[in-house]
Amino acid sequence: MPDSSHKIVILLAGDSGDGVQLLGSQLTQGAAQSGQDVRTLSDFPAEIRAPKGSIAGISGFQFQMASTAVHEPGGQADVLVVFNVAAYVKYRDQLKPGGILLASTDGFDKRSRALAKLAPDEDPLEEARVSFRTLECNFQTVTKEALKDMDLGSKAVSRAKNMVVLGALTWMYAFDYIMVREALANKFSGELAKVNDKAFMAGYYLGETAEWSAFKHVMPSHTLPKGTYRTLSGSQGIAMGLAAVAHQSQRELVFAGYPITPASDILHELVRQRSKGITTFQAEDEIASVTAAIGASFAGKMGVTASSGPGISLKAEGLGLAVMLELPLIVINVQRGGPSTGMPTKMEQSDLMQALHGRHGEAPMPVIAIKSASHAFDVMLMAAKYAMEAMTPVMVLSDAFIASSAEPWRIPDLSQLLQIRPTEADISRMPYERDAKGVRPWIPVGTPGGAHRLGGLEKQEGSGEVSYDADNHQALVQARQAKVMGIQSSYPELTLNLGSKSDDMLVIGWGSTYGSIHTATEQLRRQGHAVAHLHLVHIYPLHPDLDAVMAEFKQLVVVEMNQGQLVNVLRARCPKHMAFIGQTSGKPFDALSLTETLLNTMSS
């Protein structure tokens, strides 16, 4: 009997070379196009190709699809697909008891067991058959058979195995196979397109012939608002958001970056999208990328740079300069597990204090946090608005989870996008003569009659000439602060993401924990608990209504992926007891365990 539950979590795992990430992205695309809401989570090793068959080299891709709205990639999996025994060993504890295990048996032979460092006589499939519903299939043989006319080596055959699995799962969940096929035809060309298509169709028919009908699961469609949709990852959201910035501000952008995981994908996306008005530059280091962006802003374009924690530390000197010069700049931190190289492919929210305070001198700058892939698009417009309208650097916080996670996204109507009005090149004012909002003019290089000198030394208010005057410095420290606080006037209203002010407990989060907190809060509310959720987007300055909102609740709890950073910021402003739930495992909060933890917090 086809199952009809409305949420399914699927975890795909194999060697780094098995093409698990590609399989995952094609499958989620298929699910989304077939009317499912989808959230994904990639879990890859930091090494490019760790030894084949080893547990260290396993790459995973998890997604949750549902016929109702979902907000996170799910906790324990309903379905685990493994290309070899190492993948099974790594992820078996994440498969629900009684869940479906789809195992490629060619990866369970003696040799594979040895590579996974199992005892020669240990066959994990025996144990699996007891705990799970197993589907065992030699995908290598199926692929070989499907491609027998094509005269391919065994390596090339192996590489198409993921397409057979894509076909099989497309069949199993009754996705629109024509769309999936088309997507493949668009992605690949020539011989490879033929190979992949053949393998895909072989996988699609496999379900029928192998009599897997008992596992077939037709998902009802999710009702989404009308519109044109696409899937969007966090890195794409940022890149497309920057394209929208160029469009909305009518200013060109210069993006300067230096390769670092997981921020590099922003540069890759920008290079690929070839947006009108965006110049990209791969600098020699992090310091050069931030300072080149500052140079670009001096020349009248919007300078943008991106990195991850350690790279942001290197840029800190440049951020101080940008504060002093009062030039627009966007700096994006795709956070990862730290300190140092830490866990470069894993998520963490441990750079919040760095974003707020990781500079020399009194150097305030707005800090905005992205909560999901689609939110990344909106945040880039916000960041650019503050940067160009208040002449300030702006820090945007993302993380490794958001960077690679994908979701269906309704393409926005361009006429509805945020308006950006860059500060004008008003040469009737002196370079540091402020307007009513405390903002100096933006006079780009080349502006006739606008020649002026900027520098890192303190300036005389108004003229901008060097000044070591004590009172002037005092006044300018305050003026730079006041200008940043001024962006609060353009904040949207502060609204609870779930619940109301009459609830007892408020769960506060920021960034990529949005999905887990939302799901856990929803669960608690369904159980009858008076819990609300507030997700902060503006980390600095905080929303002016935040204190009043916090005062409405009996209990406050902050959930974040660190040892307590936002919570300490909020504790300093709010006299109430504030509970803290933190995690630094490199993985997102499991919504189910978070529900329990919140429940315990409530009753304690």
């Binding site: 696409r230 210069v254 947006s275 140079g295 001096f298 440049g318 300069l321």
Partner: protein, 322 residues
Amino acid sequence: MKAKDYLTDQDVRWCPGCGDYSVLKQLTEVFEAIGADPDNTVLISGIGCSSRLPYYINTYGLHGLHGRAPAIATGVKLASPDADVWLVTGDGDALSIGGNHLIHLLRRNVNVPILLFNNEVYGLTKGQYSPTSQPGQHSRSSPLGSIDQALNPLTLAMGANASFIARSMDRSPAHLREMMIAAKAHHGSALLEIYQNCNVFNDGAFERFSNKQHTIDHTFHVEHGKPILIGKDQDKTLQLVQGQVEVIKLSPAGDLSQAWTHDIHDPIKAYALARMAGDLRPFGIIYQCERPVHEQEVHRAMAEQGQQSLEVILHAGRIWEV
């Protein structure tokens, strides 16, 4: 505009007698000579005594971060390729803290003249030895004499595949102006090393190259296509022996056919000249070549590829209707 019109009303704050005054003066005269447009001229500097220069010149200017001027200048040129950007830096700024940025600017060939004030000492921080200080140099941080080898900016630039390498001196105003004009005329990164006397912390470092009594024995000028002649009587020239430069007497005297003819396009000979870091040193344009300019290549590639509108970008790839 006259040279003095390029000066701002700011008080110049270098020590009296500093070689920087000469560089500032020659630069304003060069600006007059080339008719520099203050609206389109940008001076980018790092940190140090030399890097204060932009405050004194009435064009666009940015006094940036220690060592980062090349990166800032690259950003300006990427955003505004037609701006006349000049880089102003010193030996500590360009060769120590900013060494990485300098070599990448040179290899990319961003179209900027670089005025590298070399005084072989840290001045603004009050007298520590610098990367170009001579071994044995006594300073506040090397009271027993520096044990570090001195870095040679010209060979470094050769190594980074710079397209223009030249040397001049604060005390040779006419030559300095000539070199500045040549550097500006060059299409690409033009490194001009300027020997500059710090009369407070390293007075006389270049005395043997600048004092009229000695200069003839310690310096020679190179000019493309002209013979290299050395000494009071111009009776000596150079030759390469197993990769080393040796001074030889012209024999018979006055026979120029035996003289080393300077060829700015010959990288091997240019490198040999650049390596001359002893008591006899070359001045003038050591090396020059034509190669593509970074910011032009970037914009050419962007034009060739074509740029996409926001509407197209948002709808690229798989989309579907609900």
